[in-house]
Amino acid sequence: MIELSHVDKFFGSVQVLHDISGRVNKGEVVVLCGPSGSGKSTLIRTINRLEGISGGQIKVNGQDIHDASVNVDALRMRTGFVFQQFNLFPHLSVIDNITLAPRKLRKIPRDAAEHRAMELLERVGLGEKARVFPGQLSGGQSQRVAIARSLAMDPEVMLFDEPTSALDPEMVNEVLAVMTDLAASDMTMICVTHEMGFAQRVADTVWFLIDGRIVYQGSEVGFFGGCDDPRVKRFLNQLQP
């Protein structure tokens, strides 16, 4: 359902993505990993056009997302994006954070939106925090609200940009638990993450990038279970404590 063909990206004169191609099928869970500066965050941001591309093509459900006829806002309503820094709206309560987009963009009446929001909050384990403000939440709680906020728009695919990297270690697991649950419900997911345990348990496919190029693109089993590529081996070794 998402297809990248020969995607290039330049920041000024620096090329950060080289000839990236790949396919993500419906219901598939893809993990993007690689050393710092490998371009994985940039890559995931091109999918909902938070970053543009300099060359190549990206198709979602067969439609070129950079085509002039495509409304970028409509595209983004169909893709959920979870940021490393959560980016909750501090001036709105938790439930208002979640219901804002459904109410204003999909014109869903407040009651229906709040009902759905409460369902999602229960699902991520924060039902009692509905009227609380983001400033009073921990990092792990904030990120779970951010996930609920994205899910409220019923996206076709969920994009995660290092969702646990800004969290204290003891809160990482509560967020990974939500993401695992989401994967089990057949959501199409693309995750940029350093959490290799999570990747091994939950991912179907791994895309491994170095310096803006895909070095390995295949099943999770093949990646963790005995890939011969020395670069992959080195990366995996560095991650073992």
Partner: protein, 231 residues
């Protein structure tokens, strides 16, 4: 000094009203408040204009902002004195000329304050809104501006203090405000300039220092709330 206050307090407070236009300290405050209320929408437009992606809006907004901030306020007052009756087609009172001049001049500065507030907001906020599907305009209206204006509120109060101080220049075209009233008192008394102008200075000091202190207190509150939010 006490005698002067006791003798002329009404004149200093409200000018020659009802035998003349409302002036004195009341005149000063009315001018300042009118300016703030009328300048606010203009400054909002200027701020958004300067941040616009379209050069059609960005260019004029930048030019207006730079010209107003690079010209002495007295010149803006003279320009208004000359142009406003021309545009309206009939004579305009000094008071309203002053209002126009104040709005023109201060909206440029207020616009910069608002712009700074918008720019200071973390980029993640507008990115999160856009990632949900909000257009640029709605992102600005629902997410960026409410937060930016709240964060900029102490700076807006500081700017209000500047507005109060600038109203005193109205005396140059005969606007009936506090400085004008003080000059009138001095014209009557003649031998007590120290007392009269001390009253003038002290009153402005009390007025402006109060607002400035309020702005500082607000700044501390806002900063505390922001650090809590960003944590």
């Amino acid at each position: 000094m006490i005698e002067i206050i006791r003798e002329y307090w009404l004149l200093l407070l409200i000018g020659q009203y009802p035998h003349g236009p409302l002036g004195g300290l009341a005149g000063t405050m009315i001018l300042a408040l009118l300016c703030l209320v009328l300048a606010f929408p203009v400054s909002l437009m200027l701020a958004l204009g300067r941040l616009s992606a379209h050069r059609l809006f960005r260019g004029p907004a930048m030019v207006i902002s730079y010209v107003m901030r690079g010209t002495p306020f007295i010149m803006v007052i003279f320009w208004s004195y000359y142009i406003v009756p021309l545009i309206i087609g009939r004579p305009v009172s000094a008071f309203w000329v002053m209002v126009v001049a104040l709005v023109l001049y201060e909206s440029a500065y207020l616009g910069e304050v608002i712009r700074a507030g918008i720019v200071a907001l973390p980029r993640g906020q507008s990115e999160a809104a856009q990632a949900l599907g909000f257009s640029r305009g709605r992102t600005m209206r629902l997410i960026v501006l409410p937060q930016a204006l709240f964060n900029a509120f102490p700076a807006i109060v500081s700017q209000f203090v500047s507005i109060i101080k600038e109203t005193s220049l109205g005396v140059v075209i005969g606007v009936h405000e506090f400085t004008y009233a003080a000059n009138q008192v001095n014209g009557i008394e003649l031998v007590k300039p120290v007392a009269v102008y001390s009253i003038l200075a002290i009153t402005f000091f009390i007025l402006c220092f109060s607002f400035t202190s309020a702005a500082r207190w607000l700044e501390a509150r806002v900063t505390a709330q922001r650090t809590e939010q960003l944590a």
